[in-house]
């Protein structure tokens, strides 16, 4: 018994890394299909897009993250754009971070290609159904200026076309022409959107954030400043599940695919934490 305790107590941490790697990789090769419950904050966003945005309405998605949080937030962006496409809602994207514009371009390219492959009778086009505003520095100043004049804030789209000549911009001047805003970020940029877009212009909005920041932003749902939240990879997976259940998406779902690995990794961590505590108490008793 004590030999096992001593072995575990002095175990090389690289063995733990190896175990975690195996536990994460295996579910990709042999999917388990862990059950998943859709939470209320996620359902609120889905229901708002489904019931409160009319056909040809508009959704603004801000991609305020870089590659470091991409695995958690990117699937959210793709799921939201797919949902908007399925309801014929116009999608406007932007980024208040320099790195975000490239990631937004990736979301647009991937979702438009996958959607058009799956729905040849309802083709989506960049500039007509979805567009991307270029990066403009200033965060709060940009959010405030968009409340007055979106075209004046950016002048062109991220592809260099004059916004006055882009069809999707027809009738869109400021937040009063945007039905819903979703900010995807792992930083305090969310707070800027809440304070300026929601606070000053009463823009209806939701939050998509990393699991690390989830606890920090729950309070904004309680106060009604945001009507829903997608938290981490699980939030993205829940949204993908809703799209799948309602036959809104046929494409591969990055969030859902990753949840088996997430669950098995969590189980491993729980076992490690329990083992660590048991060993600690055995050792303490031994010392006495």
């Amino acid at each position: 018994m004590m030999r096992i305790v001593d072995f575990l107590d002095n175990m090389d941490k690289r063995i733990i890394y190896l175990i975690v790697a195996i536990v994460v990789i295996l579910p990709f090769l042999t999917p388990i299909g862990c059950p998943m419950k859709v939470t209320e904050p996620v359902r609120n966003i889905y229901n708002y897009v489904e019931d409160s945005i009319p056909e040809d309405g508009s959704i603004l998605i801000s991609i305020d993250y870089g590659p470091e949080t991409m695995p958690e937030l990117h699937p959210m962006g793709k799921a939201l754009v797919t949902h908007a496409f399925s309801n014929n809602i116009r999608v406007f994207m932007l980024s208040l971070m320099p790195q975000g514009t490239g990631l937004a371009q990736d979301i647009i390219a991937t979702t438009v290609r996958e959607w058009n492959d799956d729905n040849p009778d309802n083709i989506k086009e960049v500039g007509k159904d979805i567009t991307l505003f270029p990066f403009v520095p200033g965060v709060s100043a940009v959010i405030l200026k968009m409340g007055e004049d979106i075209k004046g804030t950016f002048n062109t789209d991220a592809y260099g076309n004059d916004l006055d000549e882009v069809p999707i911009m027809s009738g869109v001047n400021n937040y009063s022409d945007i039905d819903y805003l979703v900010d995807l970020a792992g930083s305090s940029i969310i707070l800027s959107w809440i304070i300026y877009a929601n606070g000053r212009y009463d823009q209806k909005m939701a939050i998509g954030t990393t699991a690390v920041s989830m606890a920090e932003y729950y309070i904004y749902m309680n106060s009604g400043q945001a009507n829903g939240m997608l938290g981490g990879l699980k939030g993205a997976a829940e949204y993908e599940q809703l799209l799948k259940l309602n036959e809104k998406s046929e494409s591969r779902n990055e969030g859902l695919v990753g949840m088996d690995a997430q669950s098995s990794a969590h189980l491993t961590y729980i076992i490690f934490i329990l083992l660590g505590n048991i060993i600690y108490f055995i050792k303490k008793k031994q010392e006495k």
């Binding site: 695995p71 958690e72 990066f135 002048n155 606070g199």
Partner: protein
Amino acid sequence: MSISTNIWVWIAALLTLAIYSFLYKDNVFYKIAEKILVGVSIGYLLSVYWHNTIIAKVWNPLVQDKNFLVIIPLILGLLMFSRLFKGRAYISRIPIAFVVGTATGMSVPSSFENLFKQVQGTMPTVFSFGNIVILVGVITTLVYFFFSLEHKGFIGKVSKVGITFIMIGFGAAFGATIMARISLFIGRIQFLLRDWLGVIQ
């Protein structure tokens, strides 16, 4: 299984493996990948700021549109470089004062509005267990951070409840942090297995 033939996918995959090799021990491949990351990040940011700020917001309005009002922020921006000259560094206080003043003016009213909405959100409008927990949590946590009274007797007991709420909050945040870190690892594994090796769909 269909291994990628895209050279960029290979570069990304090898750099990912080079970074993860640090988990075994520090090595030259990790150091190369680390330096590439820093260099590429700075180069990318400089390029974005050059095209989206200097060209789009200064050069084009000034040269093409003849909008000479741009000269004012341009001069303010250039004054920041006075920090490079020891005797004239004080001049940089002018643009800094402008930025601080504008940002404060923008944020103070909105921040107050945000604070009031948060206070309103704490007040229970419906009698439910969740609302009671929120109310008790907020009050006891505020008492814990109230240092004008000694934490003894009734105040001591209330502050102990407050620290319990804080600890539960930390626990939830730490659990969520583990979830986030695993998600990042899952993202890389998905990339390696799907985009690089092609063993999953």
